[in-house]
């Protein structure tokens, strides 16, 4: 497959409670395996996925943070989070397990415009 498109995977749900977050991550990883450039954008409660020291063992769930940590190994290092979503949840980049760029709404609109395919979960 020679064609390359720029993919943006938007993840706006919390890490646990529904399958959205895991499915978004799996989609991003699979797309990277297909050698397509992938960025991820975390919006709304999706920013909770970025937190360090997640302990979902109590609800018999796998640690999504472990999968998230694998993103750079798949060359997915363009990670973005909504600055308003972070601020309103009293979170900062220091709380995140990976380097993430904070974007305001205008910058998010610009980010979406610069991608060929947007998959939203």
């Amino acid at each position: 497959m020679s064609t390359r498109k720029r993919f943006l995977v938007i993840s706006r749900r919390p890490p646990y409670g529904s399958s959205h977050a895991r499915d978004a991550l799996d989609t991003a990883l699979t797309t990277a395996v297909f050698e397509q450039p992938v960025s991820m954008l975390f919006l709304d409660d999706g920013v909770y996925q970025l937190l360090q020291a997640q302990q979902p063992g109590g609800i018999q769930q796998k640690n999504l943070g472990a999968t998230l940590s694998a993103l750079p190994m798949y060359d997915i290092d363009q990670l973005y989070a909504c600055s308003d979503a972070m601020q309103s949840r009293n979170l900062g980049v220091d709380d995140c397990l990976l380097p993430v760029q904070l974007l305001d709404t205008d910058a998010i609109a610009q980010l979406i415009r610069t991608h060929d395919v947007v998959l939203s979960f």
């Binding site: 064609t3 498109k5 959205h20 499915d23 699979t30 395996v33 297909f34 397509q36 939203s120």
Partner: protein, 130 residues
């Protein structure tokens, strides 16, 4: 224009599953083509041969199959999402030693790579129900 659809919502729980079907019909009616319909997450329930809605409600798996037959659509169901939720084809039922299989005729189980491939070759990828 070439479209592909990502169906993430289960029929009967969410209107989105029905909307995806209606969007597909409208696309084809206007002369566009559909490269693939990919069923993911709870959307995989739209590929169950055992779904039995009341007779005065639409049976989405049947309607997808009919549409696929008429227009040669590629209906692909995420194998990981389907198997963990109990929608299996004969191969998977055999592999996991299950007492039956229930993937509707006209659909096939495959990997998430089929979603990526669809997005690469299509002009538009439209998500329903995420």
């Amino acid at each position: 224009m070439i479209f592909s659809l990502l169906v993430y919502a289960a029929p009967h729980s969410h209107q989105a599953a029905e909307s995806a079907y209606r969007f597909a019909v409208a696309c084809l009616a206007q002369g566009h083509s559909i490269h693939r319909v990919f069923f993911y997450g709870d959307g995989i329930h739209g590929a169950s041969a055992l779904a039995t809605p009341p007779q005065d409600e639409p049976n989405l798996p049947d309607r997808w199959q009919t549409l696929a037959q008429t227009h040669g659509l590629d209906l692909v169901v995420c194998i990981a999402a389907a198997v963990r939720r109990g929608v299996l084809d004969a191969n998977e039922a055999h592999r996991y030693e299950k007492p039956g299989h229930n993937l509707h005729e006209g659909f096939e189980l495959s990997g998430l790579g089929q979603l990526t491939e669809a997005a690469i070759v299509s002009d538009r990828m439209i998500t329903f129900g995420a």
